[in-house]
Symmetry: C2
DNA sequence: CCTACCGATCGGTAGG
DNA sequence: CCTACCGATCGGTAGG
């Protein structure tokens, strides 16, 4: 057997995992693998109890490598939450624009908002939003302020619908408090919802609609 | 002034903080000071981000002293949660027994349950129940199992009331899901409630009653 | 309940 | 993105 390499590029990758095609290059791919791993672990064990070594291992890297992609553990948490909020906002905006042409009733609009909210929250493989909901205290003041804008945008989508329901008599509680209580009821579901038993996400959404509205 | 002690017990306490009366002895006092400090810090920073040194300092002790009262940091967390659940259960049971003689309507019973729940959750200086609600994942399997019984007892107090409301047509969602959604709406309030602004605990309770019931 | 301490782990970095 | 490593911190303990 000859020691001489036949193709020069054989020499060029002596170590590392093989790369199937040119399109699978590491661009933002590795970075996002870290985000997925971080979201999963932050949710399961909490931010503080998760080590950057855990995250690195889950993404198939060595212990120091996450810091090539993120400045700090904090920055990783922030990036997870930011992606979670963008997912939720995009999902909700497309839900609202879908129904704009048909001019649905306020009741139907709330139904859409609730179902979309549950889907983002409880859908398979979406750990980003739960982390956003349950690790707020781990953020710095500056990070909170930045995310607060996205949260305000999200809540603003609900207000006109709730206001219309209040005016129409289907929602009797004060609108501001109603929003907090309703979103709380929905958000708390990440603590107990189990897709493998009990109600489905769809059934859960319908139960919520029926619970909050005087008629539906 | 004579150097000779008049009472022999003056000699018996050469060091330590002065003790006002015999009744204020350290018995379970120091232990409970640790529990209070732990509850406060676990709530504010989370279990994992709180060090046993933080807790010791907040209780006026040295770093190793908490382990004289508790076997481990885990045991401290468990004790905090257990006390939280006992507080909630006792509060709710006395609320229910208060109204038994007068035979209130199911609507009034739910009103009592909701108000009592908010008071325990949002009342001043009660960090025990919030820790119970938000640090569940930090417990071991065995600890979870032990607390699950107390939680089941607590939830069982709500079921007959919700069932009666469902039968009476004031609550249309399935009773099991309704309980989860309602308690979720209430529990989430620890994330946003601020006694210094917005609604009071009482107003919040009334808003919740009005939100969930078809008539009230 | 304090003093003094240990072994382990953790976030992060230099230099490639 | 890996190797090798540092300084700091942490839960817990022995012995009083």
């Amino acid at each position: 057997m000859s020691d001489a390499p036949i193709f020069s590029d054989v020499v060029k990758r002596p170590r590392g995992r093989p790369r199937k095609t040119v399109d699978e290059r590491d661009d933002g791919n590795r970075r996002h693998a870290l985000l997925e791993a971080a979201a999963h672990l932050f949710r399961r064990k909490g931010f503080s109890a998760t080590t950057t070594r855990d995250i690195a291992a889950a993404a198939g890297m060595q212990s120091g490598s996450p810091f090539y992609h993120f400045k700090s553990k904090d920055a990783l948490l922030f990036a997870v939450m930011e992606e979670g909020m963008h997912t939720a906002l995009n999902r909700q905006r497309s839900a609202l624009s879908d129904m704009a042409p048909s001019q649905l009733s306020a009741v139907e609009q709330l139904r859409y908002l609730i179902h979309a909210h549950f889907e983002v929250l409880l859908g398979p493989g979406n750990d980003f939003v739960p982390v956003m909901l349950y690790e707020w205290r781990s953020l710095s003041k500056g990070q909170r302020k930045e995310l607060a804008q996205l949260i305000a945008d999200y809540e603003a989508l609900w207000m006109p619908v709730l206001q219309a329901l209040h005016t129409g008599g289907q929602l009797r509680a004060p609108v501001g408090i109603a929003r907090l209580l309703i979103l709380g009821a929905l958000n708390w579901s990440v603590q107990w919802f189990d897709p493998k038993k009990g109600a489905s996400v769809k059934e859960l959404g319908e139960a919520a609609v029926v619970l909050f509205l005087k008629e539906s």
